[in-house]
């Protein structure tokens, strides 16, 4: 399998009045193309910080991070934004759809920002997540689960290499969570997108191909699983 990203001895330390906080303390990890990774850990374990470093939202204070063989930019806002625009898809816990845009337009906006507006593909993606009937509705007019599926369609609309999600089912009930995850797996497989999701819901492990457990800023286990 081809390596998509590689982190070596990644550190993310914060200086606080109470002393140095080591959010990530020497994380080394390789993610291969096509994997569906779930990051599990208790609150404050460093999993969100690691996700932020994957997406170049945050810059590690130490260690090396390469993506498809190239160094990932750090401490340069515009280069980091450009990296995200070209490579990363992101799904938030609270969907964060733009309320003034319709379901379809939320997807078109991301395509437009990436410079490849394609209404046909946007509609296909909505069909893929089972929302072809909702294209002209506003986010406020559909359910939370539907909104999250729109967010997934939006995140893969620009064909990212890596899809990231932070507690993306944390705001949904179990049944809706399963629908969302099913849609997500289907989309990632169809689009051949590698994905990494942060959660503390053990029930989502069944959708992953690999589970990494993290605590106190360190990886404590990393194991492959057989997903359905």
């Amino acid at each position: 399998m081809t390596t998509l990203l590689k982190m070596e001895n990644i550190q993310r330390h914060y200086d606080t009045p109470a002393g140095v906080v080591k959010a990530l303390d020497g994380v080394t990890i390789e993610i291969n193309e096509g994997e569906r990774v779930i990051l599990l850990g208790p609150s404050g374990s460093g999993k969100t910080t690691l996700l932020n470093c994957f997406s170049a939202l945050d810059s590690p204070t130490g260690g090396d991070y390469t993506f498809m063989g190239s160094d990932v930019p750090r401490n340069h806002s515009e280069k980091m934004t450009s990296f995200r625009r070209e490579n990363i898809g992101y799904v938030f816990q609270f969907f964060n759809l733009l309320q003034d845009l319709s379901v379809l337009e939320n997807i078109l906006l991301i395509q437009e920002l990436a410079g490849n507006k394609d209404p046909k593909r946007a509609k296909e993606l909505l069909k893929l997540v089972g929302l072809e009937a909702e294209v002209d509705r506003f986010p406020g007019e559909i359910s939370g689960g539907q909104q999250q599926r729109v967010a997934i369609a939006r995140s893969i609309a620009k064909r990212p290499t890596l899809l990231l999600g932070d507690e993306l089912t944390g705001n949904l009930d179990t049944e809706t969570s399963q629908k969302v995850m099913t849609a997500l797996v289907k989309a990632c497989e169809q689009e051949n997108i590698t994905s990494i999701f942060v959660t503390h819901d053990e029930g989502l492990v069944k959708y992953a191909t690999r589970v990494i457990r993290i605590d106190s800023g360190k990886i404590i286990s990393d194991e492959a699983v057989n997903s359905n």
Partner: protein, 829 residues
């Protein structure tokens, strides 16, 4: 419950409320810039109100003192009866006054205090200075030593010397003594259409008919020293004119008290009391076989213009204060509402903990009151300074001393009360909104959910999505946007309306005089005195043109009110030295029957006349039917144009003045001055108008720039709120990979959109304000045409757009400053 429990509970309640209010105060303090901006706006509103209120109060006091019938005052007459084309003998005047006295009855309010004759004539002052001899257009009054009304006003500390009593003595108006460097004891040379004579200067004072130093028929004072008014004794006037002592061309009536007269700027008719006097005067004029024009205070331009100036200052107090307070109020509403929105979770928690709605409301109601109180306090402190500045400015431009300066309590209360009410009301809506927040909705995020507009979606669906999003984001808060536009509109009403009105006035007046008139000097002549001027012109190779110009027209309007106007007779309206700007119809041409006339647009509007109308007017006392054939623009005074030959036939006057075009090297000289009854040079007139317009603009300039400042503050407030509210949306887009450049372009487009709409609204408000201002300034005496000068509209619009665009860097700065890791945490909570 025991009494102790009750008191503990009350203390607890007060303590709880004071903590809540402290919480709000701290929140407000976090937005110090906005807080200070609002306090500044309130204080400016109060400052403006006290400045205008105090100004008009003291101005009124000055007029009362000047017009007073006591030792300090000059006792302004109640009725002026005059005929400038002939002189009445002392016997004729005496006979008229006797007849009037005999007919005076109890139906008239007040006793007839005096009926006295005067001579008031145009002339020239021959003045020598470093540039050689100047012939200055002048007006001479002959005032008997024992005169009762229209005396010279000699306020102590602001005048010098005494009134003229001997035949060789003169008092010169204080407006010109400094400009001409005259002092008591100087010998000065004057003329009045005959030979020149020397008089000794014995006093420097003022006159109630010459507060505004403008020649009769004009509202524009020439530059200081270019128009002189002097007050001779009656024997001095007899010496100057060669007429017998006691002969007059004006009779003044002074009635005990002041009979009410019609105020031309009101819709009501207030002239019943003076009308009774006028009817007795008409009877006595008929009995004495005299032709004359009869004017009350409302019809005497020199008096009425100043009264309207005072009224204008009085009227401006409340609207200016309320307008500025309204802008402050809108800013307070928007700011508090934003505060409520940003504190929604905090409020929800407090409500969950059991804090009652009323306790929450209280703080939001108190906040504007505190802001208002601080603003009012600052306004009160600086108000007197503004008033004194305005009074000093009035003294400088009008040249009359304001002897007493006080601000009555009533002025303070009339400004502070409406300000505090407006400011208090601005807290009511945010307070109500805060108290209505439902804890469950807020804590579950339900209050954040909103559904976009389908209409907007359809309207913008064809656009690129980012553009559509920009438009939808801009109009997401229509009430806030509407209120912002309202505040911008009011601000620009302050700024733009004055600018628009001034530009319109300048455009019509200056361009008319500069471009349409080609004479160099207008030489006034005594009846049949034009030949000497024509001879001078011929000897000096100057082109000449006769004209008639006299303020002796009279017409009854649809309300039955007598309106005076100026009669102008010209030889040629197209190729003469004075071209007239005909805006509708045509210029008068020779007629076989009814004389054709053209009237200025102001008169046409006030009288409700149309082209083609046949109307009956009074010309120098004689009834005459005329045919209206055209409408002109460019006159401040109401004017009726005739062909000179026809007007001459109707009035028996061949010419009242002569226009001269002077060849290079030829200037107005003593010889011309001696044969004239006054000379006005066109350049002097133009300079005077320019100076006056500049001064008028300066009066309002402070208000104009405040309007601009308010526009900036209001736009800044809204744009910052818009960007701050969109942190969530912009952070999402940034996380999803939108570049700062791309988002900056979106913000720029939004600014451009809001700026353009704001600019259009501003121009509309400014135009509305200009129409309103013009309507409030316009009266029969002073008509202000509203001429849209496109450059002013473009300037206003560009101003607002530039202000809006200038806010974009603030948005971009926020974007760059945004901590995406923190934002993502927020987005995940």
């Amino acid at each position: 419950m025991s009494q102790t429990d009750n008191s503990t509970s009350n203390v607890g309640s007060i303590f709880k409320r004071s903590l809540l209010n402290k919480r709000l105060a701290r929140s407000l303090w976090r937005t110090k810039l906005r807080l200070f901006a609002v306090i500044f706006m309130v204080s400016v509103g109060v400052f403006a109100g006290i400045t205008f209120g105090g100004y008009s109060h003291n101005l009124e006091g000055m007029y009362d003192t000047m017009h007073g019938d006591d030792e300090e005052g000059a006792n302004l007459a109640d009725l002026w009866i005059d005929n400038r084309s002939s002189i009445w003998s002392a016997e004729q005047v005496s006979s008229f006054c006797q007849s009037l006295n005999d007919s005076w009855d109890n139906s008239v309010t007040g006793e007839l205090d005096s009926c006295e004759g005067r001579t008031v004539i145009q002339g020239a002052l021959f003045h020598n200075d470093s540039n050689g001899e100047q012939i200055i257009n002048s007006l001479w009054h002959g005032i008997p030593a024992d005169a009762n009304s229209d005396r010279v006003w000699m306020p102590s500390g602001h005048s010098e010397g005494r009134v003229a009593s001997a035949a060789n003595e003169i008092v010169i108006d204080a407006h010109v003594s400094d400009a001409l460097d005259l002092s008591i004891g100087d010998d000065i040379t004057i003329g009045a259409g005959t030979e020149s004579m020397e008089f000794q200067l014995v006093g420097i004072g003022y006159h109630p008919l010459h507060i505004l130093m403008a020649p009769e028929g004009s509202l524009f004072p020439p530059e200081a020293g270019q128009y002189v008014v002097g007050y001779l004794s009656d024997s001095g006037m007899a010496r100057l004119t060669g007429n017998e002592l006691g002969s007059s061309n004006t009779i003044l009536l002074d009635i005990e008290g002041t009979p009410s007269f019609d105020l031309p700027d009101t819709e009501e008719y207030e002239g019943e009391e003076i009308d009774l006097v006028k009817s007795l005067v008409d009877d006595s004029l008929n009995q004495s076989d005299l032709d004359a024009r009869v004017r009350d205070r409302g019809q005497n331009e020199a008096v009425e213009v100043m009264r309207q100036d005072l009224e204008g200052a009085k009227r401006a107090t409340i609207p200016f204060t309320v307008m500025i307070a309204a802008i402050a109020s809108i800013t307070i509403v928007l700011s508090l509402q934003r505060l409520v929105q940003s504190q929604a979770k905090e409020i929800a928690v407090l409500r969950t903990l059991g804090v009652p709605r009323l306790s929450l409301m209280q703080g939001y109601l108190i906040a504007p009151l505190v802001i208002g109180a601080v603003g009012c306090f600052i306004g009160i402190l600086i108000g007197p300074w503004g008033m004194n500045g305005m009074l000093d400015f009035y003294q400088d431009i009008v040249g009359v001393p304001i002897t007493e300066r006080t601000i009555p309590i009533a002025t303070y209360s009339s400004v502070i009360l409406p300000t505090m009410i407006v400011v208090f009301l601005s807290g009511a809506f945010p307070a109500w909104k805060a108290s209505r927040l439902e804890p469950l909705d807020v804590l579950s995020g339900q209050n954040q959910i909103r559904i976009g507009s389908n209409i907007l979606r359809k309207l913008t669906s064809w656009m690129p999505t980012t553009l559509g999003l920009s438009i939808r984001s801009s109009v997401r808060k229509p009430i806030r946007l509407g209120m912002t536009f309202l505040a911008v509109g009011i601000s620009l009403m302050l700024f733009g309306s004055i600018q628009m009105m001034s530009a319109g006035l300048e455009d019509t007046l200056i361009s008319g005089l500069e471009e349409d008139q080609s004479w160099d000097a207008q030489v006034y002549v005594t009846p049949d005195g034009e030949d000497a001027v024509l001879e001078w012109a011929s000897n000096n190779s100057a082109e000449s043109e006769l004209l008639i110009e006299m303020p002796l027209g009279n017409v009854e309007d649809s309300d039955g009110i007598e309106r005076m106007f100026t009669l102008v007779g010209l030889n040629d309206f197209d190729d003469g030295m004075r071209k007239v700007n005909v805006i509708d119809g045509k210029a008068p041409s020779e007629s076989n029957g009814i004389p054709e006339v053209m009237m200025d647009e102001g008169a046409i509007e006030f009288l409700g006349w149309n082209i083609g109308d046949r109307q009956t007017v009074s010309l120098n006392g004689d009834e005459q039917e005329v045919l209206v054939v055209g409408i002109s623009r460019g006159e401040i005074a109401r004017t009726m144009y005739f062909l000179r030959a026809e007007l001459s036939d109707l009035t028996g006057v061949n010419a009242t003045s002569v226009y001269l075009q002077l060849p290079d090297g030829v200037e107005v000289d003593t010889e011309l001055g001696e044969v004239s009854a006054g000379i006005i040079e066109r350049q002097v007139l133009l300079d005077g108008i320019n100076v006056l317009l500049e001064q008028q603009t300066q009066v309002f300039q402070a208000i104009m720039y405040l309007g601009l400042l308010f526009t900036i503050a209001v736009m800044l407030n809204t744009m910052i709120m818009n960007v701050a509210e969109r942190d969530f949306e912009l952070a999402t887009l940034r996380v999803l990979g939108a570049s700062t450049k791309r988002l900056g372009s979106m913000l720029l487009f939004e600014s451009l959109l809001i700026g353009t709409i704001g600019g259009i609204v501003g121009v509309l408000f400014a135009y509305g304000g200009a129409v309103g201002l013009a309507a409030s300034f316009s009266s029969w005496q002073f008509y202000v045409p509203i001429v849209i000068v496109p450059s002013v509209a473009f300037q206003l619009m560009s101003g607002v757009i530039i202000i809006a665009i200038a806010m974009t860097p603030i948005g971009i700065w926020r974007l760059r400053k945004m901590d995406l890791v923190e934002k993502v945490k927020d987005l995940s909570q």
